[in-house]
Assembly symmetry: C2
Amino acid sequence: MSEFVLYHGWTSSASRKLRLCMAEKGLDYESKPIDILSFEHHSDWFKKLNPSGKVPALLIDGVPFVESNLINEYLDETYPEPPLMPKDARQRFEIRLFSLYIDDTCLPAVQKHNWMRRMRPVAEKWSDQELEARLAAVPTEERRKVWYKMARDPYTDEDLQSALNVLIGMAERIEQGAARDGWIVGKSYSLADIAAVPYVRRLEEIAPDEVSAKNRPALADWWARIQARPAYPKALIGGYDEQGDPAYKPAG
Amino acid sequence: MSEFVLYHGWTSSASRKLRLCMAEKGLDYESKPIDILSFEHHSDWFKKLNPSGKVPALLIDGVPFVESNLINEYLDETYPEPPLMPKDARQRFEIRLFSLYIDDTCLPAVQKHNWMRRMRPVAEKWSDQELEARLAAVPTEERRKVWYKMARDPYTDEDLQSALNVLIGMAERIEQGAARDGWIVGKSYSLADIAAVPYVRRLEEIAPDEVSAKNRPALADWWARIQARPAYPKALIGGYDEQGDPAYKPAG
């Protein structure tokens, strides 16, 4: 068994996705929670692990692995039980495509809601001088824009509704997959379902009706089956507003 | 053997990547070149194949497949000869990570140069009225911004240099991989090398010194070995300014 050290954010969707995969595989790790609000992921030591300054990063026997979808597929290939990718090539393709859709389309949508909830209350208090100093510490142009936006030009209700519509579109895709075959792709729980979990969890907080049994019975059943799996509580996917998960115990 | 219908752009990097993989696998296809400048990829019939309106899309026995990295991996799993993914899980991870880097980091960089070369001369001539009508036909907010930018707010020399620096960074990564093991990941030609080819081809046109044997001997040797493969000419990766490849013959 390799040695795993996980650098992650409690509420980061990509971190939650990786924790859930590791829990399914029964892989224990040394936990290194990263404090996003104090820019810990932008520190020099973290950028040595992941130059893009994003969580999660997983050290496997001292070698850093990044990008949650790709780490999860690597873990599935290396620790094949329980299998989280089917043998069928077309289903494998569909799982990778769905996971890419989660990262490319759903992540930017959920981030708008997360940033407004978590970063806006901090950033709106900054003076111009403080803002300038804070921005100077942010390593990527993309993230500088986000912090600037949170400080001075927050998302409108219309922006947030449009981001919510993206997540509702995701819920509808899950509803259709679950109604057809029980899971998002095919008749087995897979990395596609794992990729969706943090987003369904968050959608349930933002707009609970969208995941209710009344409105989306197949999704609600899918969601109940996932939460009933022994791995689910081990992945520590708590409430978004909790300050670190209540179940968290430092590993070291 | 399945039946393949390929919707693609001659100079689209993602299309070139897919054509090269198909040529390696000896897969013939019915060719449907898409006229990007006349917005053909934004037409209703094409959006039925790929709702995101991006090329390429590959119909396999009538089923549309999208996302070039994922299609290539599907083709490699379905047509295993010659193998383009190694058996080693860590190398497979690295190939997927490199391919994602190509799409997420190198594609936006090369697009700045491509758009200025191809779209800017068209869009800068539009009157305000014409611009408005053109933008109304573009299906995604993201692409509307691009066309607006090409019409009224083109990239500066500084923007283009910074995009070029990204491609130079890629060349440096290839140099290091090729110097170490002969190929980008490990000792075999793989989907990582295929993912890089359209970008090296384009970098060679934009800044030939960056791929010269004098400046990057391992990359230049890698590039010569790829161009010597029988698949390379079959992939029809012509000059960027050619109006459709001279070698193109309609399939139908």
